[in-house]
């Protein structure tokens, strides 16, 4: 039972981290119809920028400044790159962001090299918050949870209580109408793109010290973020939240509990072939849940797309 609690917390951390990325991505997608392939690259830039800033001014300045830098960069990408490609249609846009993801990874390697950066948890947070049955929960995890929740509440507030939030919400469902009402849609696009990438930047700043700051970090998380918003339903912020937590817990639990296919197969009445290494089915028999943890989200996504193409909470067709 205690282990369950520990895993719940771990899964929550992963899930909320995913949510910070998927929230921005789904906002951008629903406004502009563009799946930003380079979204996780902005997350990576957040981590690298924060690392560079933390060398001079410490972690907290990094947390403050790096997301703003990432957001400005994102807005610039929208203004000078995406807007240009927009005229050619959605597929070139997708290809553009894909190319951008490649390029950002190369640029990061060019500036910082291929090795992992020594970007660490700030000293004030290097203690154990509490422990559950001998499993210590580091304070930094609690800090991550709080930051994510604070951002979620802030986002919710902006979206539901402010004028600009109303416009964005309206644009989520009826982009054409909002344009017809005379709002400066290109400016809103640029703003949403900037804010979305800045959110990814925040995620990068706080995840960098735990998950490692290295050129492959965007790639590791990138496709999972897509999967998340597809499962949640494109354009749905709640869907993104639910799917993020779902994936967070799913992967954490299947890594923590060693469920074996062998037990399952014997349970439903098959007998173990002997010797196992000669059987054509040996790979099936030896599958364990930690082994498949990382591909579970993909399986889930394919099933969702086949049986419920709108995603869990989506209303709009993709």
């Amino acid at each position: 039972m205690d282990l369950v609690l520990v895993n719940l917390i771990d899964g929550l951390v992963t899930g909320l981290l995913l949510f910070m990325l998927s929230a921005g991505l789904t906002l951008i997608f629903s406004m502009m119809g563009v799946l930003n392939f380079a979204h996780a690259s902005f997350y990576m830039l957040g981590a690298y920028f924060a690392y560079q800033i933390s060398l001079a001014f410490g972690f907290w300045m990094g947390l403050l400044i790096a997301p703003i830098m990432v957001g400005l960069l994102g807005a610039g990408v929208e203004r000078y790159g995406l807007r240009r490609v927009h005229q050619y249609g959605h597929v070139p846009e997708l290809i553009f962001t894909f190319g951008l993801a490649l390029l950002i990874e190369e640029v990061v390697q060019f500036i910082w090299g291929k090795n992992q950066m020594a970007y660490d948890i700030p000293e004030v947070l290097q203690f154990t918050a509490f422990s559950i049955a001998g499993n210590s929960i580091p304070a930094y995890k609690i800090f991550m949870i709080f930051i994510s929740i604070a951002i979620f509440i802030g986002l919710l507030y902006v979206l539901t209580r402010t004028r600009i939030g109303m416009i964005i919400q309206a644009a989520l469902s009826y982009p054409r109408t909002v344009e017809a009402l005379g709002h400066n849609v290109p400016l809103i696009f640029m703003g949403v793109f900037g804010v979305g990438t800045a959110l990814a930047g925040v995620a990068g700043v706080i995840a960098g010290p735990v998950l490692g700051t290295f050129p492959g970090m965007a790639f590791v998380l990138g496709s999972i973020v897509f999967v998340t918003i597809v499962i949640g339903g494109l354009g749905s912020l709640w869907g993104a939240l639910v799917a993020s937590l779902l994936i967070g817990w799913l992967t954490t639990f299947s890594k923590a509990y060693n469920l074996r296919m062998e037990d399952f197969l014997t349970f439903i009445g098959f007998s173990r072939p002997d010797p196992i290494w000669d059987s054509a089915w040996r790979d099936l028999w030896t599958i364990t849940s930690p082994q498949v943890a990382d591909i579970l989200p993909y399986i889930l996504m394919i099933l969702i797309l086949i049986f419920r193409p709108y995603g869990l909470f989506g209303k709009r067709d993709v």
Binding site: L35, E106, F110, D283, I295, Y298, L305
Partner: protein
Amino acid sequence: MTDQTASANMRAGSMTLSLMPWIVAALVLVLLPQIFTANSAITIMNQMAITIIFALAYNMLLGQGGMLSFGHAVYMGVGGFACVHIMNMDDFFASIPLVVLPIFGGLFGMGLATIVGSFSTRKAGTVFAMISLGVGELIAACSVIIVAFFGGEEGISGDRTYAMPTFGVEFLQQIEVYYLIAFWLLISAALMYLFSRTPVGRMANAVRDNPERAEFLGYSARWVRFYSFVASGFFAGIAGGLFAINYEILTEENLNATSSGTILLVTFLGGVGFFFGPILGAIAFTLLQTVLSLETELWAFYAGALFVATVMYFPGGLAGLIMMHVPAIRLGKGSRLILPYIRTLVPAAICILGAAALIEMIFHYRHAFAGDEEMTLFWITFNSHDVLPWIVAVGLTLAGFFTARATAPALLEAWGDANTPDRMQV
């Protein structure tokens, strides 16, 4: 009546005309290894030919059907893996000539495409792209789980020479493999070209442009996409089979997202709008990869920058750039562009090379081992910590940039002039 005969004649004429490129291509394929005899050259050409087939197959989706796939490497990969397994079935493999092996690869690629296509082709656009990404990642991840088929981390390998000799050829030499690959390249390219001329191939274009309209013409957009997808899977599998024959080993790398991304890059650089685009793309990319990667560690950076620039400024790719000049040449005014081109493109090239030099120098300055201050660039060896090389590089870049910018309006004017017909003389 005379009109009809005339147009019929014209069509007959274009028939023989359209055979010409294929005859030329066949001749070039036969003669190439006589000109480039080095083993390394043949290795590059083999790789190039396999990439061409794969890129053409990919373009059946992207260019002709409007479907963007982020996981097409798996169809080539699975075809390749299947072929290596066949290589390892001693008795069966010994009873078939090596030349037919790629067909098995094609069938396996097609089989997988049939399964995946049955649900992924319901929609084009973003849904298709996402499913292709998901399936691609899934199968790539499976390669370490399903060890029996994919061989885990180290992959699986075979030996092509155990096949039944074809007319006494055992394919011990690279050059023999080259001719086998060239043979398949010609066949696959021709078949893919012919496919684009069939009803389903034409409707693929129609569905790409306007799926709703196509539905009201009696065609289910979904099934049109499905058939294109299956056909593309077949030819990707053929490329996989040839890969298996050429390298005799397949690993996880043949399935992963990097390979899928590379083929997108190759196809788009070449140009998705024309049939020959991917061919150009595969040739250019393979050359770029082999030549640049010998010269610089940063080649992937340049490739990425080139790709992004292509998407932004030349969405038609290389083929689009070439075909842009057809109207001017038809008007007989293509030659008027040569001088303005030289005036702008030479400084532009100097600017780009200068910028590349700067990038290399920064890279060397930052990442070279301490004490290693010497670097070689464009056959010149110098000290990257001296000031002079920096001044030269910056100067060249700026000079090139400003000259190109100054001559660009003249080029634009020449372009406009070359594309408007001269006034008729009465």
